[in-house]
């Protein structure tokens, strides 16, 4: 199954798609590596959040996604 990475909002344009499947496990370094430099730069910003298994991570650099997990990359929200 691996780990599914979801690119929300404008990140999907940068990623060229709204999701991608990668091998488990996935940590912060692995994530930055997989998404490429443009998105990695975005992920470095404090206002970009990461959720794993439906929970926003308090410390995204502590990411540790297991087989079957969904990792969502959450840029700043732009309002309802």
């Amino acid at each position: 199954m691996g780990v599914r990475i979801l690119f929300l909002g404008p990140l999907s344009d940068l990623a060229g798609g709204s999701e991608r499947e990668v091998a488990a496990p996935l940590d912060w370094a692995g994530l930055l590596d997989h998404v490429g430099p443009d998105i990695a730069e975005q992920l470095g910003e404090a206002r970009v959040n990461v959720a794993c298994g439906g929970k926003v991570l308090a410390d995204k650099t502590a990411l540790h996604a297991q087989d079957g997990d969904e990792v969502a990359l959450l840029p700043p929200v732009s309002g309802g």
Binding site: L8, G54, S78, G80
Partner: protein, 152 residues
């Protein structure tokens, strides 16, 4: 129309009948002294042809529920309705409908205002507009954050 009481929180992927929803909310809260509602619509602005709201299922609806719960306690509400559209809308379509029922009118006003400020700047939605030259993601507005700071 049947509402869940006292809180009715929904993500909707199609249009809604505002009159029916508010009539049902009013009927469900016959004992509240005051009911405030806010209805937000897509504004016909510049050459905006359509607006799309993306969300993230595992976060967006639970986040709206938590927000509603917070408003409930903070403003001693008798009832709340928090409905938000997702997907593609065109100018004139309803984006959001919020209603708050309370014993005192000040609480009902503040709760609706609080809910809207948070939905606009702290809920998990991403918005883009289609103009004549294609789709454009909307950046967060500074005003939204100032609105949010009012409640700290």
């Amino acid at each position: 129309m049947t509402l869940s009481t006292p809180r009715d929180v929904r993500l909707l992927d199609q249009g809604l009948s505002v009159g029916e929803a508010l009539a049902a909310f009013n009927a469900a809260h016959g004992e509240a002294g005051g009911i405030v509602s806010f209805l937000g619509k897509v504004r016909p602005e510049g050459d905006v042809k359509a607006l799309e709201l993306a969300h993230y299922e595992p976060l967006t609806l639970p986040g709206m529920r938590e927000l509603t719960e917070e408003a409930f306690e903070r403003f001693s509400l008798d009832g709340a309705l928090v409905w938000h559209r997702v997907g593609t809308m065109t100018p004139g379509d309803t984006i959001v409908l919020v209603a708050a029922a309370a014993r005192h009118r000040r609480n009902a006003f503040e709760a609706a205002d609080f809910l809207m400020d948070h939905l606009k700047s702290a809920a998990w939605f991403w918005k883009r507009e289609r103009r004549s030259d294609g789709w454009h993601w909307i950046e967060p507005r500074g005003q939204d954050h100032a609105d949010l700071a009012r409640w700290k």
